[in-house]
Amino acid sequence: MELPDESTADIACILNGEPIRARVPLRQNLVDWLRHGVGLTGSHVGCEHGVCGACHVQVDGVVVRGCLMLAVQADRATVETIEGATSSGRIRALQDAFFNRAALQCGFCTPGMLLQAAELLAKNSDPTREEIRQALSGNYCRCTGYHAIVDAVQAAAASLRA
């Protein structure tokens, strides 16, 4: 079998605080590159059409759908995945709250959910349940029914304010 004939481009970006250079297929989306090119499998692929939010990563400080952005678009960007957000400690309060409140079951949506919740708390340190539900409405969770997630985000917000 011959090697596949893929058009590629070279990119350079800051990934989880470290510079990285890579040659990526032009048609590869960001989350597939992160997962299979780099080996950061904490970001997940749930729908590949921008609905479920399991692929959420942060690009230049904004949470984006990793399945709706091409890897080449990350050239010269700053990218942070769940792995980076974990090791920097910036979402620790949310992670502890999710753990204690059992705000996850299968865990497949959780990395994307945490990044989205962190973005909310960065803008709003004391969100209401409705505001939390609104902010997380682009992240599907099939297991929990969301109630415990809303509780956990509220608890994390309270602990960060304390």
Binding site: H44, E48, T86, G145
Partner: protein, 792 residues
Amino acid sequence: MPDTALPPDGWIGRPMPRAATRRLIEGRGRYTDDNAAKGELHAAFLRSPFPHAAFRITGCDAARALPGVRAVLTAEDLAPFCRSWRTQSLAFPGLVSPEQGPLARDRAVYQGEPVALVLAASRAVAEDALELVGVEWNELPAVTDVAHALDAGTPPVHQGLSSNLAWRTEFGEGDVEAAFAKAALVVEERFTFTRHTGVPLEARSVLATYDPAAEALEVRMSHQIPHQMQVHLAELLDLPMGRVRVIAGDVGGGFGIKMHVYPDEVAVCAASRLTGRPVRYVCDRIEALMADIHAREHVVQARMAVDAEGRILAFDVDDIQGLGAYSIYPRSSTVEAMSVLRTVGAPYHFSAYRARLRCALQNKVPTGQYRSVGHPIGCATTERLVDLAAAARGEDPLEFRRRNFLPEAMMPWTNPAGGRMAELSHTATLAEFERLLDLPKLRAEVAAMRAEGRCVGLGFSAVVEYTASGPAAYGRAGVPVAAMDTVVVTLEPTGDVVARASVAEIGQGIQQGIVQVVADAVGVPPSRVTIHTGDTANAPHGGGAWASRGAAIGGEAAWGAGRKLQAEILKTAAALLQSTPDALDVRDGQVVDAKGTPRMSLAELASTVFFRGHELPGGVQPQFTATHQFRREEDLFLTTNGLQASLVEVDPDTGLVTPLRHWVVGDCGRLLNPLLVDEQVRGGVVQGIGEALLEACRYDPGNGQFLTGTLADYLLPMADNAPDVTVGHVETPYSGSALGAKGAGEAGTCGAPAAVLNAVNDALGSRGARISELPVTPTVILRALGTLEAAE
């Protein structure tokens, strides 16, 4: 008699978070697609674009010539490596479900049926190659509408069939005709339940590695029952069971979707065998929505007879089930319909029952067991009839239920539908439910909202669920399904305990439950217990995750294994301490005397046994690995009961229904971990709300094309349209086991659709609208209100 010596102040019953979720929270989960194998090939499937077609593959050369493509495989290519299969069951004699293989041959009978397979260096290249496979399609008439599938003159779903009837039955007891003849009140409704599916967020995925030198197959897959897959893959690929290892690592949700034998997954295993290379395949979302099992397509005509005192006399139910093109392998899709018909009337006393079932083949993907199999249909049917009866009598719907609940004193009782009711707590559950809801206050709130002009409704449902199936359920049917579980516990040299279990973790938290049980059974803190599940090489055979069985069956196995290990620890310690086992106990990792004074730590004991065996007295051979295999001998199912309430608001202009709040009180026996049980209930409720309001697998009525292949078309509950769910419990431990646990994971899903349906009808009642269709979409509402014209 079960050994029921649960320690006071033990770990069982404590609301502990799941230790295992730390990994998932930090992005360190390992789902199937997170594992790559050296030298792997990626698979992509060519699937039938038509619901029914004859086809001929005319050319694979162009696809094979594409750089990066290793193979293009058809049914003929895989046939030498894989047997075909046919769904059969002694429970459903005469069931019509033709032979199936991993790829369709000559004829596709549902849209999404795999017909060819490409193996390539990447998934993208494999998908490129699919477009180069030449296929001549000859589209045939398709049968999709369940209501007409059985009509004379409807074309057959499979070539050569004279009818699309897959199976039929009638059953029941008592004189139904007499009951309806003497009834003071008869309520009747025709219900339409639209297909939906489970949508685990991680789609089905498989990484198969066949080693031709060892003649062994290792399969990583996202599955609820790795041991079941080991049995079937060994049989289909003609390998000894010991040379098939199935590993289900982290599983991103199951809900019943991942407990069947799917053609594509078998094809991937066969392809690995054919090529001698690892093959990886992950369903994309469109494939998952189209070709995962669907569930719960029923048209139910039901009536209920009530006497002058408002007591239920009888039910008479006719169900047509949309089965799909095949009865799902190996358990059979008909199980769902039988579950529907066994659930009708289940919370109540009644004296006559007649059920008529026809299962219709369709040119659609097979239906199968989805969370709370069949129960939501039976529950919605019953609870809607109950509300209609209460309304006709002008009485409170909860009062009607209170009068008709099966009295505790009558149990155990086998009802005329054949359901055996035991140890249910309707009276206590209703009392707790009324306390939790604070009904007078809630009703005042509803009245106040209505006074503001808001269209709100409050609906109730009573739930009885058949959980934790016993060995006879599939055993009598001749279907190879394990209703038992195995747990192996080992005391390690450090005094730590390792448990290996055949139960499967799919997010429900059973690992944590088992850890708490083992901790109490042995006498160590949970932090000293490590559990391994999801690997056939790790634990002997057992049932995995289905039928809410983990706590009730796996938990018993864990208790039994832990007690055996503790007995061995005490025997060994007594020999070393010149004491007797009866005079000692194990608490918090220490061997203690009768006063609770520590005599020896488990670390000291175990290191003596493993590293300084010469210090042991002669004749002492400690067995620090204990195995327990548990099967329940009594009670085919463990029945559980509960009540739910739903408060909804309807927008009469748009037809949109917003669930405002939801309440549940359930009795699932002993709670091993109330925190995790509560979240199972909440998640189940919201899945049921999705069933009630949003979720539908739709097909074009003209050409049978599948219309809901994306998550923008197939709607799921989201954070901003799901309500808060208040949960309460009544705890009636099952008397026939040590732990007393019953099933907990599906009851939320069982009762939520019924409660929502009743709530919507309560909201619309004053406007003269009546709804008997799920999901209750805006279109359904507007048609019921007369704003939109009715469908044909």
